[in-house]
Symmetry: C2
Subunit: 115 residues, 2 copies
DNA sequence: AATCTATATTCCGCAAGCGGTATATGGTGA
DNA sequence: TCACCATATACCGCTTGCGGAATATAGATT
């Protein structure tokens, strides 16, 4: 994957937040939507942007579409995701997202949710 | 510096090439122009883009303007520049730029050039 | 079949970015 | 002062990206 393509995916705040959350594991759209507290169309379009460029993969589970980071990642992508992980720890938005995700996961632990 | 601002600076190939070269040390515009083999206005505008966003600094030396990476870098910027340095080694364009820079530096070694 | 729920897509208007041409600026040297 | 060099800026047209409103799709449920 060409380096500049990766950066193009990283140069929007919403996409950064999505990728940062997906670093913790797969998530369906409705959860991402709830976590980011942004309109459905906005989330969906940014996920589509990432999907067409190969930064995320999708699987269907009934009604839900579950997004995840690709299992196999090029060295550049792996390096940049690691970098994002590190840097995100310094910014409030990302820490807040991570906190909300942790809370969500706690709630979901015993609820048979596919995500 | 906000993370997304950094990525905005990184999401253009010309700017990536410029930053990658500046990782090796300060350079004046005419040298960057020669190394990238791109029109003057293109180089100048991308450097201006980087300058207004604080990713490069300038000093004047007579007619020449010398661009450099900032001495003090935020952790995010430092991390991403290191990441770029690593990833660039995998792509032909960047390797070619680095080779040309090495050649230029060899030629300039004993020529009292300010860069 | 009709409905509901989750997600995607289309269409629109707007702003930003990019590359090029032409021109301006500002320091240097004759 | 005049010409010259290196660099920057203004303007233009084009493309891309973004957000929102409305609509479409596709699986689930009744």
């Amino acid at each position: 994957m060409e380096l500049v393509r990766i950066y193009e995916c990283l140069c929007d705040r919403t996409r950064l937040r999505l990728l940062h959350l997906l670093l913790q594991g797969p998530l369906c759209v409705c959860h991402l939507q709830g976590l980011l507290d942004e309109p459905q169309v906005k989330i969906s379009k940014h996920l589509a942007y990432l999907r067409t460029r190969g930064l995320v993969t999708t699987t269907r589970d009934g009604n839900r579409i579950i997004y995840a980071l690709p299992a196999k990642r090029s060295p550049e992508l792996a390096a940049n995701l690691a970098c994002l992980q590190d840097c995100a720890a310094e910014e409030a938005v990302f820490r807040r997202d991570a906190r909300r995700l942790a809370a969500l996961q706690a709630r979901l632990r015993d609820s048979g949710c596919p995500c």
